[in-house]
Symmetry: C2
């Protein structure tokens, strides 16, 4: 049951219950947190391998919208339930996935609280490449497509459009990346990028604890 959706399609809307279990095959999905007054924030991203799951509660108040053209693999509710019954390992696996994500989000919260903007941008680029690559043995791609506009990216990184822009400019001036158009970016120096994304503690002269 393959399906394709154009960029900007709403796949799930907080309240509504999903009619199927959907695995993301290609593309990126934004998870938006919508406030009562209508403002919305990018709360998370889904990459290939992640899924939308018809569980209660349906990830309260979160809206899933395609950030790029997207390819989904849908299991109808009936099939999903049959799978659940036949395969005893499936439900623990889903719970495990949720717990892993919980850990990731906790880690991200720490990053938002403590790490400077440049690191966050670098981390995003590294993560984007890792999670977009389908086969894990595949070589690192050089050219990435940014699935988010600057405003959304800024939102996701917990900063502002201007700051994101400045950090990208800085990476460009340092010769670490090249930009082509608004959403294409070519990484010229992966090592440098990763050392910015995950600086060794104490390497910047700080004393521990």
């Amino acid at each position: 049951m393959h399906r394709r959706y154009a960029k900007g399609t709403v796949l799930m809307d907080g309240g509504a219950k999903l009619d199927s279990f959907r695995i993301l095959v290609s593309g990126v999905i934004k998870l938006l947190h919508v406030e009562p007054d209508g403002r919305q924030h990018v709360a998370g991203l889904l990459f290939p391998g992640d899924y939308l799951c018809p569980t209660q509660p349906p990830i309260a108040r979160l809206v899933a919208e395609t950030a790029t053209p997207v390819e989904l693999c849908c299991f109808p509710q009936r099939v999903f339930e049959i799978l659940l019954r036949k395969n005893a390992m499936l439900e623990p696996a889903i719970l495990g996935h949720a717990l892993n994500e919980l850990d990731d989000v906790r880690g991200w919260a720490r990053v938002l609280a403590h790490r400077p903007a440049l690191e966050r941008v670098a981390m995003f680029l590294v993560m984007l490449e890792q999670r977009t690559r389908i086969a894990s043995e595949e070589a690192r791609r050089e050219v990435l497509h940014l699935p988010l506009a600057r405003g959304e990216l800024a939102d996701y990184l917990g900063t502002t459009i201007e700051t994101v822009s400045r950090q990208l400019t800085q990476l460009r001036d340092r010769g670490i990346v090249e930009t082509k158009g608004r959403s294409l970016i070519r990484i010229r120096d992966w090592d440098a990028l990763q050392s910015i994304a995950a600086p060794l503690p104490g390497a910047d002269g700080n004393v521990d604890r």
Copy 2:
């Protein structure tokens, strides 16, 4: 199966698998994220009603340590499994709890990224009172016991010891709280505190979006 633990006891250590399902009856538990180099950060807190659950993976690399004297209610692994089998609603409930927490942590990440330190301190006090109160109909308590030392509190709030101290001083100077010793705090003006914790969007003169 009731059990009591003194303050500062390690209840769960990332790798080790729990031998029982444990519900927190009273007290507060710190969830610590320990880095390879030994430094640790407060990643979350458990309050009465929350539980430690023997699921795989065991909330990778998270250490649970009592922040106050703690009272647990333990179900042995066998009993827990029997409950799981008998009550089909139990596992979805656990998943639901995890998804709710996921949402909470996402919200907290947004707070860490965007809201000023004073708000975070106020939010913490409000949350502390709400989650520590057992019976929800019970009246708001005036005197709270801070389960975390300043350093841990600063860590949890994504700021520094000095900043936390300054915000508390500010709340005291404004007549909103009184402090008694290091860990006792008396809330004199709940309304003021809550309006700081959850400021109305736009009420501070900002323009939306």
